[in-house]
Each structure stands twice: as structure tokens, then as C-alpha cells.
């Protein structure tokens, strides 16, 4: 992938340019690969990555950020203890808890990964963003009073429960699917 932007409009002379080097490699990338010391161990292969770092795009012109794809032993110099601490997090994150989310009146359902969220406010905010609605704040007495919507979930027993009553961890393990109720049906749930 080319890290240069803006070639769509010009004649793309670069592609027809006569120059030394393997086809498909950029000039600067070639320089990078030549300057790498040849040794017997796995050499990091420069792979162009077009993600710009820290938001500033063309401040430095052609900003190359080739990433070492092959793992070099001993690099980066990070203690294995630290690596092991950060790694398991990634493994855990890969097995998400995906549940269907339906909203009354919506043409199709959505799916979210409950593991992404650490507490109810985060989940509710995500639902609000996803469906462009306002759910508001939970209160034990009133439920989601003041809102047109009430988030509910189906638990392991098949019952429909109001989101927010039980501790987060308990909710995560018992929630089978979510349903955002609307209108009078929603308000009905909030009654004492």
C-alpha cells in the first residue's frame, strides 16, 4: 500500500517511472531495506503501513511507518513479564460475548459485544449511539423514567428483565439478548 495520498488526480507518472528497484517498492522503502544489517537472524521485513501516526498527516511529507512484521528475538526490548501481562488481555478480548439487540420499530437487528463495556453507563451510551435515541439514567425506583425507551434483556430463564437491576458481572453472564422497548410498553415496565 502506498503511503502517498493524492495520486488519483494526476497522471500517476510514478507508476511508469524508470528507476532501480523491485517493482512495487518505493524509493525510500528500498533505502530502508538496504540499510538493514544483514545477519543470520530473521530480519524485520518492512511492510508499508498507511496508517498515519498521532493524527498529523502530511506534516512531514511522505511519512513512512513501515512496521516490522516478522518477530525479531530480543526486539522490542520489553521484559517477558510485561509482554505476558499485556498479551492475555488480547486473547480474552478476542472471545467476545455477542448478543442481538432489537429495537421496536427498527427494520433489522444489531449485535454488540458485551465484553467491550465495563459498566452499565458505557453500555447504555453505546446503545444510544447505535440507535440514535435517548435512554437516560437508571434509577432503582423509576427505571428509565423520563425516557421513551427502556432497555430490557432476556435472561437465562427466558424472562424479560430491566437492564440495570443486577450487578454488571451478573448481567453479563445471564444476558441472552437485548431489546429496546418503546412507548407505553416501556413505561409500563417502569411502574412500581
Amino acid at each position: 500500500m502506498d503511503s502517498f495520498v493524492g495520486h488519483e488526480n494526476d497522471l500517476n507518472l510514478k507508476a511508469t517511472e524508470l528507476r532501480l528497484g523491485l517493482p512495487g517498492t518505493d524509493e525510500s522503502e528500498k533505502e530502508m531495506m538496504c540499510s538493514f544489517k544483514n545477519n543470520k537472524r530473521a530480519s524485520p521485513e518492512s511492510v508499508e503501513d498507511s496508517e498515519s501516526v498521532a493524527g498529523s498527516d502530511d506534516k512531514h511529507g511522505n511519512r513512512e511507518t513501515p512496521a516490522a512484521k516478522t518477530q525479531v528475538i530480543g526486539w522490542p526490548p520489553v521484559r517477558s513479564y510485561r509482554k505476558n501481562c499485556l498479551q492475555p488481555k488480547k486473547a480474552e478480548a478476542e472471545t467476545g460475548i455477542y448478543v442481538k439487540v432489537s429495537m421496536d420499530g427498527a427494520p433489522y437487528l444489531r449485535k454488540i459485544d458485551l465484553k467491550v463495556y465495563n459498566c452499565y453507563p458505557e453500555l447504555l451510551k453505546a446503545l444510544e449511539n447505535m440507535f440514535k435515541i435517548t435512554i437516560g439514567e437508571y434509577s432503582e425506583r423509576e427505571g428509565y423514567q423520563g425516557s421513551e425507551y427502556a432497555p430490557t434483556y432476556e435472561d437465562k430463564d427466558g424472562d424479560w428483565m430491566l437492564v440495570g437491576d443486577v450487578p454488571w458481572d451478573m448481567f453479563m453472564s445471564s444476558c441472552k439478548r437485548l431489546r429496546i422497548m418503546k412507548g407505553s410498553e416501556a413505561r409500563g415496565l417502569g411502574c412500581a
Binding site: 525510500s28 533505502e31 530502508m32 540499510s35 538493514f36 544489517k37 545477519n39 543470520k40 537472524r41 524485520p44 518492512s46 503501513d49 496508517e51 501516526v53 498521532a54 493524527g55 498529523s56 512531514h60 511529507g61 511519512r63 513512512e64 511507518t65 513501515p66 512496521a67 516490522a68 512484521k69 518477530q71 525479531v72 528475538i73 530480543g74 526486539w75 522490542p76 526490548p77 520489553v78 521484559r79 517477558s80 513479564y81 510485561r82 509482554k83 501481562c85 499485556l86 498479551q87 488481555k89 488480547k90 465495563n118 459498566c119 452499565y120 453507563p121 458505557e122 437508571y138 450487578p167 454488571w168
Partner: protein, 574 residues
């Protein structure tokens, strides 16, 4: 001279004011009587390489030793370059101290192999044992900890930092007897397994002098809340799991407890975290001088920034690169007292994109006038940035910069980073430790040899072009103690140019360089006080080794006691 007429007690009293072992070493070399008085009065001994001397000789010189610090494996063992079972066993040291009647009170170990047997022997043998600090060690289990807890009746400090400890699912914490009230410092953050929470609470409650407590990831927030209620005198806290429903009674109680903990100056942990709970700790942030969030990947960029805005008195900050350049800008404008910064990479196996670049470092250098120690993992760095940093911060003592791609050039000029690092060594006249990375030629070593007069430790990887690079360093850096080099084209010419130099250094490590077996043999033959060890994990040893063979890993160190007798098969001492 007048000093000769001072009775020994006076000399001893004067020497007591010398706390650094370097000062004590210097004093002991003045004359015979000073040597004698010093050695009998020395209580704290520091051994930078456990194979440089043996315990018997040590104890015969310092019979009154009470506190021993030992370091074992070479530094690059941290990065998996040294195979397991290489060595660094503490057992012989403990055994010798028992035999020779040492009244050991304190043992601090780094990168050593510590067995449960050694911990048991330690716990049973030294009546006044007070302090055990283990950093990056391995080889023991929670059974060994149980022995320490059970038997060390006056234990004040049990500090476990980043060790690999096998969890036997025992109840080591419960082994502290009810009569134990002496704990001042307890750090078990690196333990993976469960601890009995009720036991922990009771232990904290009865140790009224507890100043430092670092919990592991299984200790939940509501236990933390109870603990803080019982130990408002804490100065250093490591939170375990910091996850809870933010609108809960528990979190309210936590906030109240935190209000009473007015002495906390150091915070770490947050091994699991729900960011919505973080505001609870903002009141603590005002007085913090040390903050370590480098093990808290659950805290995202904007929460980190919000938190740091409260930390105006911070002197030490360890974080993950998720903070980003913008976040570092906030650090620069908030933390005017900052002395030490470490930015660790969060994504180690992914595409390898660090979220920080040279911009963050430049901002810090401009905003934090007291900065003297930096460890910085970043995507890239420019010469211009390094030159600016050097100008802004002439007071660096430690400077370690790691680009994730080890041979990346200056992305703007496509030049090597020689000029940038050269500016650092030229400006920072007190620089003691330096780690380089990025595209580097012999030129940077010329600069280092010329300017880095106080340099004691240098780490090099994928750098240099010819033997001249290494020669510049060996010839120039008079105070060099540790040199470690990986994957660089330095060979026999450099290695053999001045072998006497190695006796002035603690150690030299070279891996994946161009040195040959023959050259290593030459050094070993000429220098009886150097141990030259070849680590060979492959099949080189099976075929008869040719002197022209390249050596994959060489570790060379000075020693007063000759070859070590505990070397494994894959280590050959020449």
C-alpha cells in the same frame, strides 16, 4: 597523617555517614587501616554480578554484613536472549551465609533463580530477617512465600516485582501468624492466583505501620475499599482490579475512604479497570509524586489525560503509549516536577504501531525542566527532535529510546540517527546510561566515545557499520561498566584491541555479532581474571568447533574466583 591517630571507633562513626557502596569502596582503598575499619563496619554489600565473587570470600571480607544485594543474569536475559537454566542461583549464597553465621536482615535479588528451598532455608536461618526484595526473579512458588510468611517473625518487607511465580493455590497469605504486626511493605502484584481476601484484610488491619501495599489482579474493588479504611496511613498503593458499578454504595464508600488517605504519594496497578470508576481516585492525584499505569491497558487515552490533569506534583510517571503525543503534551503542561518518564509499548505483536512519536518526547523535554531519566518506546524519531530534546534537557542521567522498528531512519531526512543521539551525549554531560535504536552508523559511536565521559552502561542493537564503532566506545568511555551489543557488525578487531579494558568493566555481552571463537579463546587465555562464556544452543558444539566460527552469544565478565562451577551444558567457559 592526623587521621592515623583517630581511634577506630571514630573512623567507623565517620564511615557510617557514607551510604553509597561506591563511596565505601573508595574509602577502603585509602590505606590499610581505613580498609580494615571499613570492612568490619560495612553492613550493606552490593554485588553487581553474583559470579564476580563467591560468598565465602565476601563474608570473610565483610563479616558483619547484614544486607546483601545480588544481581544474576545479564540484562539481555530480560528479552529472552539467555536460555533458561543459565544460572544465577541464590541457594549457594544463602547456604554459605548460614554456615558462616551471618546475621542476615535484608536480601535484594535481581534476575536470579530463587528456589523454594532457598526461601525455606532463608526463613528458618536468620532470626532478625526483615526484608526480602525480589525483582525479575524466577524458580519459586507460593510455597516458598508461605515459608517466609510463617517463619520470619520480624518481617518488615516482602516486595515482589515482576517475578515469574508459580501459583500453588496454597494460602501463603494465611501463613502470616496473628502475631505478625511488623509489616511495613507488602507487594504481591505479580502473583497470578487467588488470595484469601478476609485474611488480607485482617493482616492489613493489624499491621499499623504498613506504608506500602501493592495488590494483585484478583483483589476486587470492594476489598480495596475496606483495606483503605483500615490503612489510611498508606503512602504507596497498588490497586488490583478496579472494576465496579459506578453508581454503587461500594464506590461511595471507596471515595470516602480515599478522602482519609491523605498520605498516598505513589500509585500503581489498575491491572483490570473500569474507566468509569477512575474519577474516584482524582482526590489522590493531587499529592502523587509517582504514578505507574503501565500495566493498565484498560485505561484509554482520554481517561488517562483526564487523570493526569490532576497530577501536578508528579515526579515519576510510567505509562503506556496509548497516551499519545497529545497526552504527552498534557503531561508536559501539567507535571512540572517530572523527573522520570517511561512510555511503554501497548501493542507488541500487532502491526507495531506505537501511538507516540518524537513529538511527544519533544513536548515533554520542553515542558519538564527537571527531567533526568527517560525510557521511550516510539514509532519513529527524527534527528531534529533529538537535537531539540538534547538542548532542552542537558541533565539526563538515563536516556533510552527504542524505535519499534530497530533500524528505522529519520523519516524526514531519511538519514541515520547519528546526529540526534550525538547531540544527546554532547549535551548531557552527566549521562550514565544510554540505549540506542534506529538506523545508526559508526558515526554515533564516534560521538559517544568523544562526549559520553560519565557513561556507565550502553545498550546497542542493529547499529554500526565496522569495528571502528565499537572501538570508539571502548577507547573513549572511561567509566564504562556494562556494554551489551546485539546484531551489530563488530568483530575480532574491535574485541581484541584492548582486552585490558574488560577488567575495568563489569561485563560485556555480544550476540549475533561478528566475533569468532578464536578471538574469544584469545581473551580467555590472556586474561585469567575474566570469564569468557559462550552460549551455544544449537549444534555448533557437536561438530568440533572451528576457531573461525562465528560465536552466536558471548558473555564476558571479570571475576575474582575463576570459572563458575554451575554452568549448564550449553554454556562453555573458555
Amino acid at each position: 597523617m592526623m587521621m592515623n591517630y583517630f581511634p577506630d571507633e571514630v573512623l567507623e562513626h565517620v564511615f557510617n555517614f557514607l551510604t553509597s557502596h561506591k563511596d565505601r569502596n573508595a574509602v577502603s582503598m585509602v590505606c590499610k587501616s581505613w580498609y580494615r575499619v571499613e570492612r568490619f563496619s560495612r553492613e550493606k554489600v552490593f554485588i553487581g554480578n553474583c559470579y564476580a565473587i563467591d560468598p565465602e570470600r565476601l563474608i570473610s571480607r565483610f563479616p558483619r554484613v547484614r544486607s546483601l544485594t545480588l544481581k544474576g543474569k545479564p540484562h539481555f536475559a530480560d528479552f529472552n536472549l539467555v536460555p533458561p537454566d543459565w544460572g544465577g542461583f541464590v541457594y549457594p549464597w544463602i547456604e554459605a551465609m548460614v554456615k558462616l553465621g551471618v546475621h542476615l536482615e535484608e536480601l535484594r535479588l535481581k534476575r536470579m533463580v530463587v528456589s523454594d528451598e532457598s526461601l525455606e532455608l532463608l526463613s528458618r536461618s536468620f532470626v532478625s530477617f526483615k526484608s526480602l526484595v525480589l525483582v525479575s526473579c524466577e524458580g519459586f512458588t507460593t510455597d516458598g512465600l508461605a515459608a517466609i510468611a510463617s517463619n520470619c517473625r520480624f518481617l518488615r518487607e516482602l516486595d515482589l516485582q515482576e517475578n515469574e511465580i508459580e501459583d500453588r493455590r496454597g494460602h501463603w497469605l494465611s501463613c502470616f501468624p496473628d502475631s505478625c504486626t511488623s509489616l511495613i511493605s507488602l507487594n504481591f502484584a505479580c502473583l497470578k492466583g487467588e488470595v484469601n481476601l478476609a485474611t488480607l484484610e485482617r493482616l492489613v488491619a493489624r499491621c499499623h505501620n504498613l506504608r506500602s501495599l501493592r495488590l494483585n489482579h484478583v483483589v476486587p474493588l470492594d476489598t480495596l475499599q475496606k483495606i483503605l479504611g483500615k490503612a489510611p496511613q498508606l503512602v504507596d498503593l497498588g490497586a488490583g482490579a478496579f472494576v465496579h458499578d459506578p453508581d454503587s454504595e461500594t464506590l461511595n464508600k471507596l471515595k470516602n475512604a480515599i478522602q482519609k488517605c491523605t498520605s498516598i504519594r505513589s500509585l500503581s496497578g489498575f491491572l483490570e479497570v473500569a474507566p468509569c470508576c477512575l474519577p474516584a481516585i482524582y482526590p489522590m492525584c493531587l499529592n502523587l509524586t509517582s504514578l505507574n499505569l503501565s500495566y493498565a491497558p484498560g485505561i484509554h487515552n482520554n481517561e488517562l489525560i483526564k487523570l493526569i490533569r490532576h497530577c501536578r506534583k508528579l515526579q515519576r510517571l510510567w505509562i503506556l503509549d496509548v497516551i499519545g503525543d497529545k497526552g504527552l503534551g498534557v503531561v508536559a503542561s501539567t507535571c512540572k516536577e517530572l523527573q522520570e518518564l517511561r512510555v511503554f509499548p501497548s501493542d507488541l505483536y500487532g502491526v507495531g504501531n506505537a501511538a507516540v512519536t518524537e513529538e511527544g518526547l519533544v513536548a515533554i523535554s520542553a515542558g519538564c525542566p527537571k527531567l533526568n531519566s527517560v525510557l521511550y518506546f516510539c514509532q519513529q524519531v527524527t534527528n531534529a527532535a533529538l537535537i531539540t530534546v538534547a538542548k532542552n534537557c542537558p541533565n539526563f542521567i538515563r536516556f533510552r529510546l527504542c524505535t519499534l522498528n530497530p533500524t528505522i531512519a529519520d523519516p524526514v531526512t531519511m538519514q541515520p540517527l547519528d546526529e540526534g543521539f550525538g547531540a544527546i551525549v554532547q549535551s548531557c554531560k552527566g549521562l550514565k546510561r544510554l540505549s540506542l535504536s534506529g538506523l545508526l552508523t559508526d558515526q554515533v559511536f564516534l560521538y559517544i566515545g568523544m562526549y559520553a565521559e560519565q557513561l556507565e552502561m550502553l545498550s546497542v542493537a542493529f547499529a554500526g557499520g565496522t569495528d571502528m564503532g565499537m572501538l570508539y566506545v571502548l577507547n573513549g568511555c572511561r567509566k564504562l561498566k556494562k556494554l551489551e551489543i546485539m546484531d551489530s557488525p563488530f568483530g575480532d578487531v574491535a574485541l581484541l584491541a584492548d582486552i585490558g579494558k574488560y577488567e575495568t568493566m563489569r561485563s560485556l555481552w555480544m550476540s549475533s555479532c561478528e566475533v569468532t571463537l578464536g578471538a574469544c579463546k584469545t581473551i580467555a587465555k590472556k586474561m585469567p581474571r575474566l570469564n569468557v562464556e559462550i552460549i551455544d544452543e544449537g549444534d555448533q558444539m557437536e561438530t568440533s568447533p572451528d576457531d573461525r566460527h562465528r560465536v552466536e552469544k558471548m558473555y564476558l565478565y571479570r571475576s575474582l574466583v575463576g570459572h563458575r562451577r554451575d554452568a549448564p551444558d550449553f554454556v562453555r567457559t573458555l
